[in-house]
Symmetry: C3
Subunit: 361 residues, 3 copies
Amino acid sequence: MFMKNCWYVAAYDRELKDGGPLGRTLLGEPVVMFRDSRGRAIALEDRCCHRHLPLSLGQVTGDRVQCGYHGLEFDATGACVAVPGQSKVPPGAAVKAFPLVEKYGFLWIWMGEAALADEGLLPDWWWVDHPGWAHNPGAFLHIQCHYELITDNLLDLSHLGYVHTRTLGNDAIVDFPVKTERMEDRVRMSRWIQDRPPPPLFKTGGGFDGNVDRWQIVETQAPAHTVVYAGCGPVGAGEFGGRTEYTSGIHIRALNAPTPETEHSSFYFYAHVWDFRLDDAGWKQQMYDGFLMTFLEDVDILEAQQASLMRDPDRPLIDLNVDGPGLAARRMVAERIEAEKGGQKCDQKGSRVDGQTVAAR
Amino acid sequence: MFMKNCWYVAAYDRELKDGGPLGRTLLGEPVVMFRDSRGRAIALEDRCCHRHLPLSLGQVTGDRVQCGYHGLEFDATGACVAVPGQSKVPPGAAVKAFPLVEKYGFLWIWMGEAALADEGLLPDWWWVDHPGWAHNPGAFLHIQCHYELITDNLLDLSHLGYVHTRTLGNDAIVDFPVKTERMEDRVRMSRWIQDRPPPPLFKTGGGFDGNVDRWQIVETQAPAHTVVYAGCGPVGAGEFGGRTEYTSGIHIRALNAPTPETEHSSFYFYAHVWDFRLDDAGWKQQMYDGFLMTFLEDVDILEAQQASLMRDPDRPLIDLNVDGPGLAARRMVAERIEAEKGGQKCDQKGSRVDGQTVAAR
Amino acid sequence: MFMKNCWYVAAYDRELKDGGPLGRTLLGEPVVMFRDSRGRAIALEDRCCHRHLPLSLGQVTGDRVQCGYHGLEFDATGACVAVPGQSKVPPGAAVKAFPLVEKYGFLWIWMGEAALADEGLLPDWWWVDHPGWAHNPGAFLHIQCHYELITDNLLDLSHLGYVHTRTLGNDAIVDFPVKTERMEDRVRMSRWIQDRPPPPLFKTGGGFDGNVDRWQIVETQAPAHTVVYAGCGPVGAGEFGGRTEYTSGIHIRALNAPTPETEHSSFYFYAHVWDFRLDDAGWKQQMYDGFLMTFLEDVDILEAQQASLMRDPDRPLIDLNVDGPGLAARRMVAERIEAEKGGQKCDQKGSRVDGQTVAAR
């Protein structure tokens, strides 16, 4: 069971560079994506209504995708508009069409009720298009795990000291407590690390000699749009433990949007933006490689975790303090799924408002 | 569920060149084939009655196959006739035996009630043994799809223009309608293409300069024995759209006999015969390569179609005019399966006679 | 369903040479093994109680194993004794611990009720540690079959003449009958082969010129601890067909302990000891290679047999005389499983005593 009435990333925009068709399973459904003659990206059901061949095995002809078996053609609405060898298109000959929006280097798809699709519900990741920030789109990662394990991973950065010692982790992290907030439309985790050595990637990036103040602020919006605000600055150069980052120092945002393929597998789409060394191509490559190495370390963990969970799905989990944010995010998503089942209308932001702060246990 | 009281191709005769044993799953059952001391081909259940090791892992000893684990020996009737280390063969020690006939370059097996096996029910593919025709046995193709998808494919040649543009297809095909006939023991599809350019393989084969009249006549007998009568001749050199081919021009028969391995996989046995360039070894090779390339294009389509159908088996299919013959063949097979279930005796040809012509929709 | 209250081999001792952690599925349960700071081998559930990552992906720290995701530490009793970032370990934070004993070159695990674990129930394989015997630990064999098929294989050596003609088999075996005895805590199969040529490996090993008297005595203790007493001596040099081997001649014991991984796969642990050519390194290697080649021949048979049995699990098996010992061993294990279900206490040797000799059929 997944949230349906929300945006998921379906692909990086570069994956449709050649126009498509590109086939991919999203939320268990087969989807084909292609660009029409003006370059607009379109998403349809990836299954010809005639004999069920995936349309992604066919070809794009002008504004249509043509089936590679018997030549049926489908337009951007999913309607079959041409059947070779007969003048009349049979009634009911159509495939499902999905709203698709291109933004921030991603193609965003709406798998639920099309009438509810609203671009205003996309996350606000303005840094990608802002000249004051550098931008790295992510690598293509296909992971054999449920997508919420990725959210858990991002909302509990205490694993940095054990999984990512080469790039982002060091022993300092777990000495400082986590604060969890359930906000209007998101879950917020924050941890401030005072007067400690920076981890390897930050030390190199910011050119720090000694200790720093460091922050990790992670915000997850349903279903799984997670921004990690990470950075560090000189000790005492700002309000330690506050709601906002220091204005001095270095600032990175990791933009994360895992999308379920099935109940047991996911695509992990991501990007990074940063506000320093903007014209340094070497640093840009180092950012790309460093985070990819980090994420690949996570892949090993996540796939082993998924396999272990599937061995005995009913076995209970013991929760720790650091699980507060992840559990709050799971509750947020579960409420949304429940609301969709009940046919309840969601508010503008698509979320139940409670305004309560969920205390870390 | 498959038809059982009928012949299926179990193997090419050349596959038993070394005498066997050769193991293969047919209609979901394990079958072992071998040749006795006089070269006669024999088919037994591929599972020793003792500890179930496949007999195909053993060896042929004279007229018997010997299990590779404990040395039990089975004769052509499936009876266990020797147990090493004990003088008495235990009661019930036997494996199933299947009628097996060698003809037209194929080994034909009868998986149903052995008493009903009748060589007179084999299809009449006399061209294979006639000096006026050249003959190419097919390649070994193991396809991950239900065997009826192969029959559909052969009975709907409108796909030639989309899947096989390099050899057999061109745009002309779908301009001409399909005629479907349900005959006494078979389904017949015919399409005549008038005054059009020949496709690449026919142009080379017949040495045609300009347009031709071309025909595709496909006849399927249950369970899936399908002859494609294909050819072309000079424009106006015969009765266009008639029941029989032009006597002038070139004539090819594609002899097809897909056999189910399981509900989701098949072996596709085939051969080609033709009545021109009989002593031209280069053309013989070109025929072999051209049709193999064509069939391998089909394999990609058929396996993707099977996987897509299995994602959502209950999703309806939209039918087109060109599906008439395939649907009629499916009805023919379904009636035969129903008759076998009900224990009804079949007539000489093994089929219900209705004599009705099924009009193309 | 497996016997639980008994010892199984979990690993060769050499597999923990580096201290671990080593993850392995045994009887369907995930197990992690490691050595503490004094070298003692420990076995725990291979699943962190927090988020279920296998502990075998973490690292050993002193006397503990540390989870590779969030750093939780577990001691030899399975208790979680440290949670990074919080002072209090949550109630219930623990994993299962299994009794583990190191003996005869193997690590023996007790997967059932820990309170019943008793080293006195280990098989008595004293030859491994005795200076009058040479010793080869086995290779690591992971076989896709139920472990009882391995016991069947060992208790019915009539297959030597069909599967292992290169090393241990020859035609002579099946001329001599098998005797089956159900003893207090084990099943015993014996076969004496009089005045026949020795098989290849024995001929080389013992330097025999002509015929020999040869014996195969196989004893299986539940669940699957099987000693093969094999050897041969000069014709007439001892009591042919007796309860004990000739004192003259050569003596080999194959020590076998297959362990179920799942219902369909097993680990096959073994060792060999022998009382001749004790300081002959070439012979030692020849013993290792010869028996490994032999066992790999069995692997092919056993995996094909398992696959064939799984095709049609309800199909009956025809039993032969040679199956007497294997069937008796299966009854012995089934009785033990039944007794464990009923919560019955077992006697010192863990087996029902009947003292009856099961006659070979």
